[in-house]
Amino acid sequence: MARAKQEQRQPADGMTLIVLVGLAIAFLLYIAFLNVVKTGNLLSETNLLFATLIFYSGAGALYLGFGVTGTESYVKFASLATWLGLIANTAAVAHRWVDAGHPPFANVYEMLLSFVWALAVLTLIAEKKYGVKVIGTITMPVAIVGVVLMQLLRTDVHPLVPLLQSTWLDVHVTLAILAYAACTLSFAFAMMFLIQDNVKTETFLVLSSASTLAIYASVVLTCFGRWGGLSLAAWSQNRAAEIFLSQAIRLSITIPELGWLMTVALLLVATPLAYYGLAHRKNNLKFLALANRSVFVSILLQSLTLVVLLLGARNGRSPLDSSGGSSSATAAASPFMLAGLVAGVFISLLFLLLVWRRPDLERLLPTSDKLDRITYKTISVAFPLLTVTIATGAYWANQTWGSYWSWDPKETWAAITWLVYALYLHMRITVGWRGRRAAYFAIAGFAVVIFTFFGVTYLLRGLHAFA
């Protein structure tokens, strides 16, 4: 995590960035080397996954590097890095498949592994087929967050419980992963469309700041503990779940002082919005420049917060340490929250990229009309996939529980996702929504997909307990 973070610190000019990225990758390689020496096994799944992380991060860094320096050849190298990452990712999938004796679909970790793979494949297809060369600017960060998340989830191979011993598992999950990856791609296209459609950079400022603000606000509001500590629900890595002392009472662990740091980060994340408000009120462009600069500062603090959280999570204090004893096996931060924080950094970074290199981006992108059509095309692939995912899920549920629909949270949210995209299609085809409104709809659809994929698993309980 911390290692992956290093390279996204934004320096003010290109040279520093390249040096930093080089150092970060060297660091990642060093860690990988240590790991190989320790285990004596070069092609273990951990190492393959690590290689995947290195290459995807490299691709992400190169896209950002392009953002900073405007060197177009970086985009080509980014594509190459994506290819290498995909090869490592494929090897990791194959390794897992052989190890487990079944396709990697049986838990969140395995699903993420396949999802990231599908996303990389779709990214490369989008590059080749539609000529959207910089699409990885958005999909690669998503993939990196996915791989980072995987480092924290339960990775041990478990034999399949009776429920999961079904061909329908493979069919259902394959379709789901493809559908989710296609939705992610449509989201990326929609963002590219907005850039190409001359949406004001301020609008992106509001969008990106509001989403990071939402992430930090929800963390601070739910976790700010006594004396400025950050009180987190303990997370058991063994069971990949929160630890319950008894029904509905979570074991919580406090990381001292982090609450304050988190609050400061929250305030800093909010400043761009405040400056934006001022700029509008006073009609003064100077405040907009300040807003952009404060995004930059907030990234530094966000990264710092993340590092402190990761360090603190290892030795966070639990009020129940004496009785619990299980806290040795806990990291006091759920992957869900960590992914949120990492995503916050990426969102801010992407905004800076836009501020610095908008004309270059626009030059590399197809026309807005074409992007609009590609977004629709991607959704017209994703929607049937979502439909068949739900249908196969229902059929499987009927084979197992004797009921094809039980309003379980995962089912319900799958249906909600389906409805949101159905609404998109109706608005587009019947009402004639094109362009921006359709793009905003595609972005909202992606938010719902992410919630269905992860949110439901970690926040809502139900029959679909395995993933």
């Binding site: 419980v161 429920l163 509905a248 692939v381 249908a391 229902a394 009927n398 004797g402 309003w407 009402v431």
Partner: protein, 383 residues
């Protein structure tokens, strides 16, 4: 008064059939279902848990609002019913038009159409009846080589060619919508006449009484006997397989036997028996826990699902493509040319490419037929 009623009816109908109503209803469904996944639901939560999760006042309010059982509340079902009505109204409103379009396709383009339609192209022809015929033959050959089935259309003393692909695509949306109605209908059947319950049997025991919710029971028209049951474990002790050997007994006779496992139920005259779990009780040996379900509407649901798959495939991947070819004489110059027009109901870029291919191949067919026409005599746009 009667007139008033009629206008009210018409207004209601208009409202129901409009896209806006449909969109608002779907947004409501989305919001309410989301609420139903966030608030704990009574049917799947124990009363103790409900009480520990919410304070008594909050629980009272939630219960009174029906938010603790959203998916079985009258207003949610009512909403789904309204959605179905909306689909029906929208379909009835639009289908006749669409049907006319589908059942009697526009075969001969008149002058106005020829002027406005895009894409289009004109190829020069040799003058006279022979030139006309050569043009038509060339077009027919080219269309056939592209997989079309061209037909000659004669209007008064004009002649032309019409060819099309995938006309069904025009009705695809209605297939999807009716499949959704079919699924709703199936679930209503199951809601009215379906039930689920549990049946626990010791090895060797037989029974025909199924326990359903709230302590009620149902009696099956036959008995189920468990001949044997067992559990197999992985090396690490987690269960790998639960199985039971079941027999269906009718009037003292075994009429059906099957070994069931999780994911592979026993089906007998509309009742399904699912392996839920297997346990041991000291002296008797194993006992099996079965889920029993009766879903008379499920085949309606599955046919709806299949129909939806077909419908969606049609909607997204079948393009209704139409090609018209008409020899036209320019009233001023008197020159004869071959007007070619095309239309597609979606993916217009892709179609334009195909259209240009077609025009090129008609040109190719024309060349050996009419050597007299100089090359490059193609004119673009209006003829």
């Amino acid at each position: 008064m009667a007139l008033d009623l009629r206008s009210i009816f018409r207004k209601t109908w208009r409202t129901l059939a409009s896209v806006e109503t449909g969109v608002v209803l779907l947004i409501l469904v989305v919001i309410l279902s989301a609420v139903g996944t966030i608030v704990l639901q009574r049917p799947v939560t124990s009363p103790d848990e409900m009480q520990s999760a919410y304070s008594p006042q909050v629980l009272l309010i939630l219960d009174a609002a029906g938010l603790t059982d959203v998916f079985h509340s009258w207003w949610f079902l009512g909403l789904l019913f309204l959605v179905s009505l909306c689909i029906v109204a929208a379909s009835i409103d639009r289908l006749p038009n669409r049907w006319r379009y589908f059942s009697s396709p526009y075969r001969y383009p008149d002058e106005g159409f020829r002027r406005a339609n895009r894409p289009q192209k004109s190829l020069a022809l040799a003058n006279g009846e022979a030139g006309k015929e050569l043009g038509l033959v060339a077009a027919e050959r080219a269309l056939q080589s592209k997989g079309y089935n061209p037909e000659r259309v004669v209007r008064q003393n004009h002649i032309g060619i019409f060819a099309e692909h995938h006309r069904i695509s025009e009705l695809a949306v209605y297939i999807v919508h009716s499949s959704l109605l079919l699924i709703f209908f199936g679930t209503i059947l199951d809601g009215l006449w379906g039930w689920r319950g549990t049946l626990n049997l010791n090895e060797g025991q037989s029974s025909n009484v199924v326990a359903i919710r709230d302590g009620k029971t149902r009696t099956l028209p036959f008995s189920i006997r468990c001949d044997a049951a067992g559990q197999e474990n992985y090396k690490d002790g987690t269960p790998k397989r639960w199985w039971s050997k079941l027999a269906v007994v009718k009037a003292g006779q075994d009429v059906q036997k099957k070994e069931i496992v999780v994911n592979d139920p026993l089906l007998s005259s509309g009742f399904r028996f699912y392996q839920s779990s297997v346990g041991t009780n000291g002296t008797v040996g194993h006992f099996t826990e079965l889920e029993v379900s009766h879903e008379p509407g499920q085949w309606v649901v599955w046919s709806g699902v299949v129909l939806m798959g077909i419908g969606l495939a049609f909607v997204f991947y079948l393009v209704h493509m139409r090609i018209w070819v008409v020899p036209v004489r320019d009233p001023r110059t008197g020159k004869l040319s071959l007007w070619i027009g095309g239309s597609a109901n979606r993916n217009r870029d892709g179609f334009e490419k195909r259209f240009n291919d077609l025009v090129a191949s008609i040109e190719n067919e024309l060349k050996p037929l009419t050597c007299s026409v100089p090359e490059g005599a193609t004119r673009f746009g209006r003829s």
